[in-house]
């Protein structure tokens, strides 16, 4: 079936569906063809093109960790045509999958460093791949802080991860919401001020952040206040994608094609982009 045609997806089976929030679901999935599974590798930060046959393809990161290859995971926020069809998926359904594409979080830059993860909303999806990766190689890193925020307690995704990270001693876990509710006893506040309050030292530290553009914008300012240089900040960028492999011509920011040259960039790289289109 597959041959060497990059556009032909693998057929994958949905093994589990998790309703994360009102409009976000996580899917556990696996190769239908075991021999393809054995050949498959990816790195945290990479993405893939997922298809609902008859509806089309859309782009999502692989949100599980390459250190846990029993199955793969992706998480989807409902946003339009394909994402709505994905939300209809049930256990046992089949999807198309081609990838992995793009670059990945620079593990060699991160190794030996303290890490500060800052995620907002669905932005935790690519980060959790890396966080589990770090946990599974815990000795290679210094202190690890995770700060995750969402608009309200009901908007928190990956609660099972948050709980596990909070309980274990691998990670210093902080969760915050913009607005609490009656049952919420945790932190209330926007991510950037909470980050400043936690006040991680920039010394030997790399910050990895992912979330909605407005959150990223203010998080970058807070990180700068804390002494992080643009080289010490890693983030991912999102542009409209179709091919995922640098051909269809739509995901560029200046001469950089986010699908091939990204989606992971240091803030220093982003500052050198030849475009104001992001």
């Amino acid at each position: 079936m597959e041959g060497d045609n990059v556009y032909i997806p693998h057929v994958m089976k949905i093994e589990k569906v998790i309703q994360e929030t009102g409009n976000i679901k996580t899917f556990h999935f696996n190769f239908k063809d075991q021999s393809q599974k054995d050949k498959f590798t990816f790195k945290s930060g990479q993405f893939a093109e997922y298809s609902i046959f008859g509806e089309g393809e859309a782009t999502f990161c692989v949100s599980s960790s390459p250190t846990r290859m029993d199955h793969l995971e992706f998480s989807v926020m409902k946003a339009g045509k394909v994402t709505a069809a994905i939300h209809e998926l049930q256990e046992g359904d089949e999807i198309g999958f081609r990838g992995p594409y793009g670059n990945w979080f620079p593990l060699d830059l991160l190794q030996g460093k303290n890490l500060v993860f800052v995620g907002g909303g669905i932005g935790l999806a690519p980060l959790r791949s890396l966080i589990w990766n770090v946990i599974d190689n815990r000795d290679s890193y210094g202190d690890v802080i995770v700060l995750y925020g969402a608009r309200s307690p009901a908007d928190l995704s990956f609660k099972y991860d948050l709980e596990a990270w909070d309980k274990g001693d691998a990670i210093d876990m902080y969760t915050t919401v913009d607005r609490g509710d009656d049952a919420w006893t945790g932190r209330v506040g926007l991510i950037p001020p909470v980050l400043e309050e936690i006040g991680p030292s920039a010394q030997d530290t790399v910050a990895i952040t992912c979330g909605p553009p407005i959150m990223i914008k203010f998080t970058l300012q807070s990180l700068a206040k804390l002494g992080f240089t643009p080289e010490q900040i890693v983030t991912t960028l999102e542009m409209k994608m179709k091919c995922g492999i640098g051909k269809c011509g739509r995901c560029n920011i200046g001469n950089i094609y986010v699908c091939k040259d990204g989606p992971v960039f240091t803030y220093a790289q982003i500052q050198n982009f030849l475009s104001d289109e992001f």
């Binding site: 045609n5 990059v6 409209k240 091919c243 739509r250």
Partner: protein
Amino acid sequence: MGNKKIKKDQLNTLFNELSKDCSVLVPTRSKGYIGFDLWDENNGDFIGWYKNTTIPLKANFFPKVEDMFRFNKGEGGYEIKEILPEEESQIIFGVRPCDARALKIIGTLFADTYKDPYFLKRRENAILIGLGCNEPCDTCFCASMGASPGESQDVDLLCTDMGDELLFETVSKKGEDLLSNMRGLSDSSDGDSSKAKELREAANNKIQRKIDTSNLKEKMRANFENREYWENVSMKCMSCGICTYVCPTCHCFDIHDENNKKDGLRVRNWDSCKFPLFTRMPMENPRHEKWRRVRQRYHHKFEYYDMNFGVIACTGCGRCIRECPVNVDVTQIITGIQSL
């Protein structure tokens, strides 16, 4: 091997012969425009009436719409059947030097890192017979784009129209092999070669339009944020996308599914950076405004492609100038940048 020539009234016999072993495509007028289509005896007289095809040669390698695979849901779940272009060699005759060059330029992208099997398969199976232009259009500016109307290194054989005869010159090994198998041709003389040379020089001198590409990247970079300039030059553009469809190097595409979930096709089709939907995302659109899309198109061709692949993605064929309903003119836009 020496060059050959053929009397024009013998071309039908030659194409008849060639058609026995493979398909032969020539410039053909159908549905109101000219493109490359299967030769038959009734349209063998194309030399003379066409200057260039309306639809560029790219369409024969990267069609407007093409099926990529079929999916089918049966008892055991989805089955996928790849749909690759037929393994059939093609001779394409009458290719203009600008289009041959364009094919090479986009070929670099389709072969880069992830191979695009649809384009590359067709390219592998095609032999290009070029036909130099003796009478370039007034919209041509190929001479500014590292090319010349009568010459090409990007074809397999190059023909020159010598009046009653066509001169065939060998450019590639593939072309040499083909030429040695073609019947009905006679050897050409040194006199023919020098006549062809004169015709080419004359054609080159007929090119009216010029653009200056020296330091163009730098100049464009310096004016990237010159919003006033881009708003001005894009004012009359209607975002119709015609310029991108007739462009021999525009290669942007969309991928979508047809039919239903049980049985359908994954299809790709030409798309255009001139359309606002091209980059629309759920939350935002980086090129929502027209001037940004116009800027993207010219920067992509004249700056980004050069940065990424070492060549400007424009061959000076002039189609966008000819076909634009509101006379947006790339040579004016580039000249305007150079004079900023």
